[in-house]
């Protein structure tokens, strides 16, 4: 199945959760937020959220900025 993760298209296994995808990118315990198809998914719901074909996932964190 194909999803778009932080703007990049990639193949992922069926049944993958948001928590699995985030863990592939970062192990930061805090300061991370996730949007699925342009809607915020609270951290507590990552594990229970299963990805579907064509999902768009954004994983953001804080960086330096004015």
């Amino acid at each position: 199945m194909r999803v778009t993760l932080n703007g990049q298209s990639r193949d992922v296994a069926k049944g993958l959760s948001l928590a699995d995808v985030v863990a592939q990118l970062t192990d930061a315990p805090r300061g991370i937020a996730v949007a699925l198809n342009a809607a915020v998914v609270p951290r507590g719901n990552w594990a229970a959220t299963t990805l579907a074909d064509d999902d768009r996932i954004e994983v953001l964190t804080a960086v330096q900025g004015g």
Binding site: I32, T61, A62, Q64
Partner: protein
């Protein structure tokens, strides 16, 4: 506290808000934050880069400084609202420095998108601190939709051009019922002092500190300039006169008639 700065019900001692954009390393940021005395500092939200080492949040929270996420880089109200919601989730704060810019060359705020985003974010429970043009009318509209402060620019972001239209800043201050934070355009300490002398409640400075040759030294200069400007504003300056007015007594000079 003699002269506290109250913003959205929170009390601060420092009237210098530091932006972290432009720092060369986390060590430089740490030293500049300490020297600035800032109690509030901005961060941006970006896609996670798996190669990044060290977290800017660790440096900021270790200093006991409050984090103010921004929506820098957003061109539409929709993107700004989603970025603000992501920031709230990531950093557990409902405060947001709202930026909605029009183009990458001037980085000037897009007034229409800005007002739209401000209204939506206020409705969604955010404490909205909008980066705005030095336009008294727009500042008033932002206040009307419920923004907790207005943050007019002195000049374009990172330009260091200083306060190009002091009269407009003066008008914004005069009409504002919420704190006015001069944001963007500061180049050096005298610009920050002028902002405070004009009656601004605080100044937000990033590039002028982070891109100075010695950031920590400039941070200290800005801290003192903001303090000096604030004191001067409270003290009440003398009126400007066209001709001299002697400060020494006019009577009793040598050779004068008694």
């Amino acid at each position: 506290m003699d002269d506290p700065f109250v913003l959205a019900g929170e009390t601060f001692t420092s009237r210098l808000v530091m932006g972290t954009g432009g720092v060369s390393s986390l060590e430089v940021l740490d030293a500049a934050l300490e020297a600035s005395g800032a109690e509030l500092t901005t961060v941006a939200m970006r896609r996670v880069d798996p190669g990044t080492r060290g977290s800017i949040l660790d440096v900021i929270t270790h200093r006991g400084v409050r984090v103010l996420p921004n929506t820098a880089g957003c061109y539409t109200a929709g993107d700004a609202v989603l970025t603000a919601q992501l920031a709230r989730e990531a950093m557990d704060t409902n405060w947001i420095k709202l930026e909605v810019i029009a183009d990458e060359h001037t980085l000037l705020p897009d007034a229409v998108e800005l007002l739209d985003a401000a209204e939506k974010l206020v409705d969604d429970g955010f404490v909205v601190l909008p980066y705005t043009n030095d336009d008294p009318v727009l500042a008033h509209r932002l206040e009307q939709v419920g923004c907790a402060a207005v943050m007019p620019l002195g000049a374009p972001i990172g330009s260091g051009l200083g306060i190009r239209n002091p009269h407009n800043i003066d008008l914004i201050v005069e009409n504002a019922g919420v704190p006015v934070i001069l944001d963007a355009g500061i180049g050096t300490a005298s610009d920050a002092a002028l902002a405070m002398e004009l009656g601004c409640d605080a100044v937000l400075i990033a590039s002028a500190i982070t891109r100075a040759q010695v950031p920590a030294l400039m941070a200290e200069a800005m801290r003192k300039a903001v303090e000096a400007g604030r004191l001067a504003a409270r003290a009440g300056r003398i009126p400007v006169r066209r001709y001299a007015r002697a400060s020494s007594p006019a009577e009793g000079t040598v050779g004068s008639a008694s």
